[in-house]
């Protein structure tokens, strides 16, 4: 019996130490090479936009009449947007499909109004590049080209993504170099040979970029000139490289949060969490004495484990303000299992059971309540996760995680510590368990006079 508890205790200490190490703010992560395999693991808190500031955009597919919207289309749109954002160069963007026709984009790195305006343009345009035969007319750049008036020779589909880049002309003006794939090169070569002296207009999403004159046959390489700024040229290159969006999207929701607002909220919430934890610890200690102290130890381990789970490198929990609130709330709820057990233990002690028997009975009898009540909380979390979006999901996830971890700490950790303490003989005074009126945990029954006794609570004939 004691031997088993000692092993459990060793496991608990090990788990708690690992969790403590992960939670440590300056955790370096694991970077090593074992058996020729590189291990690169970082333990980081992923902060939601409300904490670190940034921009969140909800996009909705806006298919052209008759266009079918399949999961494949949405996946393709998602990866195009992801590539564009990666090329845009912002830190830790998150791009996720939501439902059947929406994409959520979070860009914590986008903070200035200029960046926001540029970022929004990444989604607003589908990136359809056309090479249009405008005959002997040269439409002015920057203006929309009347749709359907001129025949399209080639589209961006045939552009060789590896050959697209920003280059500079002699006056250091940015221009865009591009190249064709085999099919594009054939078509382009034939066309340019037949149309020397005419104008080939390059159109992006219906707007003229430039309308150069064809001087000679061009096969597989070309340059688009125009009045681009460097940033514009880069964004156009991004679009050409990663192709057109398979379906147009529109912005249906947008949130921009300044970083200062976030930092202030984090600091305040952390203070609040620490104070809340401290008050609960003090309350448990005063009310339940020795078991309260052990519940406090379990609660500290609980906090370490939960926070370590947030920082797990495989599926890190995005920490939002609501999530922190969920975590702090779960501290209060985590103690509940212990309160249920301790109240049950007190009852058993008052019925005159020995400490050992009371502890075991407390755990066994409280289990039904703990299981049923926690399952109902998990049901609520599942519903929240299913119906909610970003912010709410974070809350549901942290609360559910807290409930699961608390089952381990409140039951396994507390029980092991109590059993071990009991076997050392330190814990033989009922006063340490907050039970007044009972002096010694003797085998004979001795009741607290003012308390109800199940065997006598229903006098016959009343």
């Amino acid at each position: 019996m004691r031997r088993r508890e000692s092993i459990t205790l060793a496991v608990i200490i090990l788990i708690a130490s690992v969790a403590g190490w992960i939670v440590w703010p300056d955790n370096p992560g694991i970077h090593a090479t074992v058996f020729n395999r590189d291990i690169d693991v970082d333990f980081k808190v992923v902060e939601g936009l409300d904490l670190q500031g940034g921009m969140q955009v909800l996009l909705e597919a806006d298919p052209a009449p008759g266009q079918e919207l399949t999961p494949e289309t949405m996946n393709a749109a998602r990866s195009v947007i992801e590539q564009r954002i990666n090329a845009f160069g912002t830190t830790e963007p998150v791009i996720q499909l939501q439902g059947q026709r929406r994409i959520v984009v979070e860009m914590p790195g986008v903070k200035t109004p200029e960046e926001r305006d540029r970022a929004v343009k990444l989604f607003g345009e589908t990136g359809l590049l056309e090479f249009v035969d405008t005959g002997s007319t040269s439409p002015p750049p920057g203006r929309p080209l009347e749709p359907g008036k001129y025949p399209t020779v080639l589209t961006g589909k045939n552009v060789d993504a590896n050959a697209v880049s920003v280059t500079f002309d002699q006056r250091n003006t940015p221009q865009i170099a591009f190249g064709w794939d085999a099919e594009g090169a054939r078509t382009f070569g034939d066309y340019t040979e037949k149309n020397v002296g005419k104008y080939l207009t390059i159109v992006l999403d219906g707007v003229v970029l430039s309308a150069p004159r064809i001087n000679s046959r061009i096969d597989d390489r070309g340059v688009i000139t125009g009045r681009f700024s460097l940033a514009e040229a880069k964004d156009i290159v991004t679009k050409l490289k990663y192709g057109a969006l398979p379906v147009p999207v529109k912005v249906v929701q947008q949130r921009e949060i300044g970083a200062t607002l976030g930092q202030d909220s984090v600091d305040r919430s952390i203070t609040a969490g620490a104070v809340g934890l401290g008050v609960v610890l003090a309350y448990m200690l005063i009310y339940y004495r020795l078991p309260g102290f052990i519940a406090g130890v379990a609660l500290v381990i609980y906090s370490l484990l939960t926070f370590a789970a947030f920082k797990n490198p495989w599926a890190p929990v995005t920490l939002t303000l609501a999530g922190i609130a969920g975590f702090i709330l779960s501290i209060g709820m985590a103690v509940d299992a212990n309160i249920l057990i301790f109240e049950r233990m007190k009852e058993e002690l008052r019925l005159g059971r020995t400490l050992g028997a009371a502890i075991e009975a407390g755990f066994n009898r409280a289990w039904d309540s703990i299981r049923d009540s926690n399952i109902s909380t998990l049901i609520t979390c599942a519903i929240l996760y299913y119906f909610g979006s970003g912010l709410i999901r974070g809350f549901a996830l942290t609360l559910a995680l807290g409930v699961i971890v608390s089952l381990f700490t409140a039951i396994v950790v507390t029980r092991t510590l109590l059993r071990l303490l009991l076997s050392t003989g330190v814990a033989r005074m009922p006063a340490l368990f907050g039970v007044g009126g009972v002096t010694v945990p003797v085998e004979s029954a001795k009741r607290a006079p003012s308390r109800p006794d199940p065997n006598g609570f229903l006098p016959a004939g009343s």
Binding site: P113, D117, V251, V252, Q253, Q254, R255, E256, I257, G258, L261, S265, R268, S269, T271, A272, G273, V275, G276, L277, V279, V280, Y283, M284, L321, A322, A325, G326, I328, L329, G332, M333, V335, D336, I339, L340, E343, E347, R365, D368, S369, D372, S373, I375, S376, T377, I379, T380, C381, I383, L384, Y386, G388, L391, F395, L399, P452, P454, F457, L458
Partner: protein, 314 residues
């Protein structure tokens, strides 16, 4: 031992009196819905020259926007006073133009937040919130009917737990209607989260009491149900109060020390959890007794204040 079940009519009456003002508030004012539900845009800025809110508003109205409201924040720091501006849905471009105007008139301007929710999304959020409360209630009813399958009429336990949780939801929503009227508190997505958490907590609390009833019913066969319930409620009283107290302590810390952005959220939780504790001690179990005694029909009549309350306990 407290005679809680015997005085059930008093506790039903107290619940009624607590809920009534909120219901009246809901009937008269309804809820003040935030842009999460209605759609619209919200801009939060700080302006260095601290203009009056009417001056800020006129910049937006002059640009042709309707339904513009401006609230000034309570704090002023080195970058100026905080202004919360709400309008119908505008896109990022329009916002940039407006803020440029605002900045040149009353700047320097610091943009802290911009949120824009399309009307379709708003309607969806509202529908989802409604479905979430219904869905959670139904699943909890099913789960409890299963968990209590060994006692007679198990689904009555589920129904009473759901009744208690709806009691808490109605109380909090009603209170919010009054607070919305008095302090401009809005119903947003976070509010729905808070309501659902209250739902979870309320059921959590009720289940602990019901579990005791289940245990005692099998321990004392042949005993009057009413007395078993009263005994069970008393047995779990310490635990109910202690658990609620620890949650209330952590939430109070969050309310007093946490950021202003989640204050409304924490307040909903706090009120809901106090109500949840009350309803699981005084309402859920009492209702179960009323139902098991077959008095459900009489109860409605008895709740009318005109009739004198007659206790039925022997």
């Amino acid at each position: 031992m407290f005679d809680i079940i015997g005085r059930r009519n008093i506790y039903f009456l107290i619940s009624g009196l607590m809920i009534l003002p909120g219901l009246i508030g809901l009937a008269i004012w309804g809820l003040k819905l935030g842009i999460d539900f209605t759609g619209g845009s919200l801009v939060e800025v700080r302006l260095g020259s601290n203009p009056a809110s009417a001056q800020v508003r006129s910049v937006f109205v002059d640009a042709g926007l309707t339904d513009v409201s401006v609230i000034t924040g309570s704090t002023t720091d080195a970058l100026g006073k905080t202004y919360l501006i709400r309008t119908k849905t505008i896109d990022a471009g329009t916002k940039s133009d407006l803020l440029a105007k605002l900045g040149s008139a009353y700047g320097p301007l610091t943009e802290d937040r911009f949120e824009s929710v399309g009307p379709v999304i708003g309607r969806e959020t509202a529908t989802n919130a409604f479905l979430a409360v219904i869905g959670a209630s139904v699943l909890i009813l099913l789960y409890l009917s299963y968990a209590f399958r060994q006692v007679p009429n198990p689904w009555r336990y589920g129904a009473c737990a759901v009744f208690a949780l709806l009691h808490d939801v109605v109380l909090v929503v009603g209170l919010w209607s009054i607070l919305g009227r008095l302090f401009g508190l809005e119903v947003d997505a976070l509010f729905v989260t808070a309501i659902l958490t209250v739902v979870g907590f309320s059921v959590h609390d009720t289940i602990v009491v019901f579990d005791r009833i289940r245990e005692n019913v099998s321990r004392f066969p042949g005993e009057m149900f009413e007395r078993i319930v009263n005994f069970s409620v008393n047995q779990t009283l310490d635990r109910s109060i202690n658990t609620s107290l620890t949650v209330i302590l952590t939430l109070t810390a969050l309310l007093l020390l946490g950021g202003a952005t989640i204050r409304g959220f924490v307040l909903v939780l706090l009120v809901g959890i106090v109500s949840g504790t009350y309803s699981s001690i005084f309402n859920a179990s009492c209702l179960l007794v009323v139902w098991e005694n077959g008095e459900l029909g009489q109860l409605l009549g008895r709740l009318l204040p005109a009739k004198p309350v007659v206790a039925t306990t022997p």
